[in-house]
Every structure is written in structure tokens, then in C-alpha cells.
């Protein structure tokens, strides 16, 4: 039973860190702010969720499990709300998302900044 818990939590930890890494790579390479919010969202929800559930399996029943549940619940709620607030503030302050037709006619006139 103990070995099973170790294996499952090891798989969860590795996949969680894989999602965090790919999300961070997306955060680094995406061309536009609004695409980067997607990448940051991936790391916040998928990465945090998997890593914390992996840790939860190791913690066993007790106060530590309750704290990890609290962290998971709150980080899921907080990061999505923060991402939404950021996108709304950016859109309201005049930052336009880079759409397809921006690329095609951006040679003639200076379209929205990336």
C-alpha cells in the first residue's frame, strides 16, 4: 500500500512539474499578452493541482492534509480570479489582443502593439 502511494504521488509530482514547465515555456514564448495569460493559467491550475495532490498523498491523514487542501483550494480560486482581473484591466486600458487580420494588414499602418 505504501509503495502504491509512493508511485502514484511520484507520477503526480512529475506530471505536475511537466505542466508547470510547459506553461512557463508558453509564458516565455507567446507573442501577445492575452496568449500569455493562457499559459500562466495552465501553470497555476494544472501544475499546482497535480503537484499539491501528489504531496497530499504523501501527507496521510491529519492537519498537513487539511493545510494542503486549503492551499490547493485557495490557489485555484485566487489565480483564476487574478488572471481574469488582469485581462479585464489590460483590455480596458487599451491593450488590444493581436488578431489574425492585425498580422495581415500590419505592414501598411502601425496596428496594436504586442
Amino acid at each position: 500500500m505504501e509503495l502504491l502511494l509512493d508511485i502514484v504521488s511520484w507520477i503526480l509530482l512529475i506530471s505536475g512539474s511537466f505542466f508547470t514547465l510547459t506553461g512557463a515555456l508558453g509564458l516565455f514564448r507567446f507573442p501577445d499578452f492575452f496568449t500569455r495569460t493562457h499559459a500562466a493559467g495552465v501553470t497555476d491550475t494544472a501544475g499546482a493541482g497535480l503537484i499539491l495532490t501528489g504531496l497530499m498523498l504523501q501527507a496521510g491523514w491529519g492537519l498537513v492534509l487539511a493545510k494542503l487542501l486549503l492551499i490547493l483550494l485557495f490557489s485555484l480560486l485566487a489565480s483564476t480570479t487574478a488572471c481574469h482581473a488582469m485581462a479585464k484591466a489590460a483590455l480596458k486600458s487599451g491593450l488590444k489582443p493581436q488578431t489574425v487580420n492585425d498580422n495581415s494588414n500590419s505592414e501598411e499602418e502601425t496596428s496594436s502593439k504586442p
Partner: protein
């Protein structure tokens, strides 16, 4: 077992900092700092399990709270200053 997630989380925090320095607009920087904060929470939890006795989970909870409030505070602060000037600065 906890070494690999800890190292990967450090790499991710480095990448988030690079985005914070390179980010053209203000909102890229806020996004990068927010990602850095949430990864710190995860890093504290992983290091906590690495060191055996779980003593620092309370700090991770408080850090998640503070990170969220600071992002909302920064957005609210920049919302009321000059609106369009900040979005176009490169």
C-alpha cells in the same frame, strides 16, 4: 523524490522572472510576478516535504493570500493612473 519538482519549480521561477524583465507592457510584468508568486507557494510546499517535518505550510497559505491581494492592489493602482499611456509604453 522531491528534488525533481523543486529544481523544475526553480527553473520555472527563473523563466517567470525573465518574462518580468522582458515583458513589453506593464500587464506582462504583473502576470509574471503573479506566476512567480504562485510558484513560490508550490516551492515552499515541496521544500517542506523535502525537509521531512512539515512546518512551513502555514507560510505557503499566507503567501498565496498575500500574492492574490497584491496583484489586485497593483491592478487597482494602475487602473486609476493615466489610462492609455501605460498600455502603449514598450
Amino acid at each position: 523524490m522531491y528534488i525533481i519538482p523543486a529544481v523544475i519549480l526553480l527553473i520555472v521561477m527563473g523563466i517567470a522572472l525573465c518574462r518580468a524583465f522582458m515583458g513589453p507592457t506593464l500587464y506582462d510584468r504583473i502576470l509574471a510576478v503573479n506566476t512567480f508568486g504562485t510558484k513560490t507557494v508550490l516551492f515552499i510546499a515541496v521544500i517542506d516535504f523535502l525537509s521531512g517535518r512539515q512546518a512551513f505550510l502555514d507560510i505557503a497559505i499566507v503567501y498565496a493570500l498575500i500574492n492574490f491581494i497584491s496583484v489586485i492592489g497593483i491592478l487597482r493602482f494602475f487602473e486609476y493612473s493615466s489610462k492609455t499611456a501605460l498600455a502603449e509604453e514598450d
